[in-house]
């Protein structure tokens, strides 16, 4: 979550957000690496959503910052080639985050960023390899633990 702060963040806001981020990190780290890359690709695709939303600046900013967190949680566990691409993507997302308001205010800049986000989304999805499996959900036990639970019930 990104707060528009006109006054210092309350301690409650800080605690809630750090708690949410920690919980999300734990869920994310339980996923197989290809599935994490799938989550990343999804997050990049969703970053192009709702340009007419009254809170669009906040939404885009949150997607960019959350995707950066997901990259940080994944970077150490991918092969060097993907690592290099993720590092490049992270750098690009950070730059967009810094220029967020200028991007939102300028239709041309915004269109370029949206196009780049779509390209990155497809690139990361390709890197995940998920589409090459007939049934990647079985291959990577996704959603986590569902099949194990079903076996116990049987």
């Amino acid at each position: 979550m990104i707060y528009l702060l006109r006054s210092p963040a309350t301690s409650e806001q800080v605690v809630i957000e750090s708690g949410k981020l920690q919980a999300r990190r734990e869920r994310f780290m339980n996923l197989a690496v290809p599935v994490r890359l799938g989550e990343l690709a999804e997050s990049l695709a969703l970053a192009t959503m709702a340009p007419d939303h009254p809170q669009y600046t906040k939404i885009l900013g949150r997607f960019l910052s959350e995707t950066i967190s997901c990259i940080d949680w994944t970077l150490a566990e991918v092969d060097p080639e993907v690592q290099s691409e993720l590092a490049e993507l992270r750098s690009q997302l950070s730059e967009w985050l810094r220029d967020l308001q200028a991007i939102v205010d300028d239709p041309l800049k915004r269109a370029l960023v949206v196009a780049a986000l779509k390209d990155w989304s497809q690139k990361i999805l390709d890197r995940s390899g998920l589409a090459s499996y007939d049934d990647w959900q079985v291959e990577f036990d996704y959603p986590p633990g569902i099949r194990a639970s079903a076996e116990v019930l049987v």
Binding site: M1, K20, A23, R24, R27, F28, L31, V35, G38, E39, A41, E42, A45, L46, M49, A50, D52, H53, P54, Q55, K58, I59, R62, S121, L125, S128, L130, A131, S132, Y133, D134, D135, W136, Q137, Y142, P143, P144, G145, I146, S149
Partner: protein
């Protein structure tokens, strides 16, 4: 919080579903049973709720509902189903997409 939706969520349930992401709700939609699970941070968690409720995986598709602009989105990597001829994150089959949209709008537009 994730809710299993067979009927329109109450304002309180909707607020709970929006707790995590604020501006939109992640959804897993069962197009055969015409139910959905929504909320939380990952489509996986919604999908797990439906599977636990008896849904078949091939009937479940990922979507998002953005209340402020009343928009349904179809990008989710749970939609990657090569053996169901859907190798992309978005739902390629217009019939399936229409069914997902109809279920989502029926559930949320009466709110």
């Amino acid at each position: 919080m994730i809710h299993l939706l067979e009927t329109t969520p109450s304002p309180h349930q909707l607020a709970e579903m929006l707790e995590e992401l604020e501006d939109y709700v992640k959804l897993a939609v069962d197009i055969e049973r015409e139910v959905a699970a929504g909320g939380g941070a990952l489509h996986a968690d919604c999908e797990a709720v439906l599977l636990g409720d008896g849904s078949e995986q091939e009937d479940i598709w990922g979507a998002d509902w953005i209340p402020a602009v009343r928009e349904v989105r179809y990008e989710s990597f749970i939609n990657i189903r090569p053996r169901q001829n859907n190798p992309a994150m978005t739902i390629l089959d217009p019939d399936i997409r229409d069914r997902v949209e109809a279920i989502v709008r029926k559930l949320f537009e009466a709110e």
